[in-house]
Symmetry: C2
Subunit: 200 residues, 2 copies
């Protein structure tokens, strides 16, 4: 079986959310698995000295419009959250903690967290909200809250973000197939050609 795809995303990234609705089906069509790997864009942007895009005077308003239009273009349910963007530390910690116990559960949790934030407008930066979503996904509330504040889980997320940066990840979504990097849901057509026909 060919190697799994690495799918990097930030839980606060609209384009990452769009990609999350497509990546598993795309990979499965070519017999590939997917490793979901949440990151924190704030840490990544520091490396490139990138400013928060939504605050740029010209690009910021465009991106807000492009997000909503792209959701309609792809036919993906999307509602601009009242608070956007958010620091996505709690959902990312919850994901890695769950992933060490049950990757399928962690993936369901990730989908539920994205849905909670970008469809139901629930602020998943809150530990309480992330725990609510985790409980609905079948997890134990007390264990989740403990994990979100566990020093080992915190360190685990930092290691994952550092490893992503070492690998060159600078945005969300960011997909690596056979060592080849693709940034943006608008590169899914190129990913599909790679999966279907190999390097080009």
């Amino acid at each position: 079986m060919p190697a799994a795809i690495d799918f990097y995303f930030d839980f606060s990234s609209s384009y990452g959310y769009f990609a999350s609705t497509k990546i598993d089906a795309l990979a499965a069509r070519y017999g590939r698995g997917v490793n979901w790997r949440p990151i924190l864009l704030g840490a990544v942007y520091k490396v490139d000295h990138e400013l928060e895009v939504l605050k740029l005077p010209l690009k910021g308003p465009y991106v807000m419009r492009d997000i909503a239009r792209s959701a309609r273009f792809y036919g993906i349910a999307y509602k601009l959250p009242a608070r956007f963007p958010i620091p996505a530390v709690a959902p990312a910690r919850a994901f890695y903690w769950a992933n060490d116990r049950d990757p399928a559960l962690a993936r369901n949790l990730a989908r539920s967290l994205y849905h909670a934030y970008f469809v139901e407008d629930r602020d998943i930066s809150s530990q309480e909200v992330t725990a609510d979503v985790a409980v609905a996904a079948g997890m134990n509330r007390d264990e989740v809250i403990a994990a979100l504040n566990d020093i080992g889980v915190k360190a685990r997320l930092r290691r994952e973000v550092d490893a992503a940066i070492q690998r060159g990840v600078f945005g969300s979504p960011f997909v690596v197939v056979d060592g080849e990097a693709f940034w943006g849901v608008d590169r899914f057509d190129q990913i599909e050609r790679w999966l279907a026909h190999g390097p080009f």
Copy 2:
């Protein structure tokens, strides 16, 4: 006849070059004309305080790889120029000067300039090289050289760049259809839906 599309691009932008090979045919399929409007990304980036993307430690190497891969993906002839990027003042001035006399000639000139830079690896930031390309496109060398140094032509380009910034243009290619902005050759699928079915 429906309104023409505005196509903003920098002569030093690889993605702008890719878009230039597609925009006229795309527009023509829906009965639209295209206004070609060269800009200077350096002036635009200042507004957003954007750094030169190719110099960013993480995004820079990715973009270089994405440019070459995207050329292959689209099937467009492309050779990374020995000097890249360049200040594209001379070609932009030549374009607007030609456009006031003969828009069809100016468009041919723009295509020839892009081809000279991104296929033949000729440094079109040089007035001499831009003039060579203009002569091959049927223009008079002395007139072109004079135009490149004419105070009115210089002011004209500055006005065009300022007007683009006022309109929110922050990158290349940047296409405006019926007041709706689309950034990137990877938004041509959304442009096509807009042209075919209207706002979405």
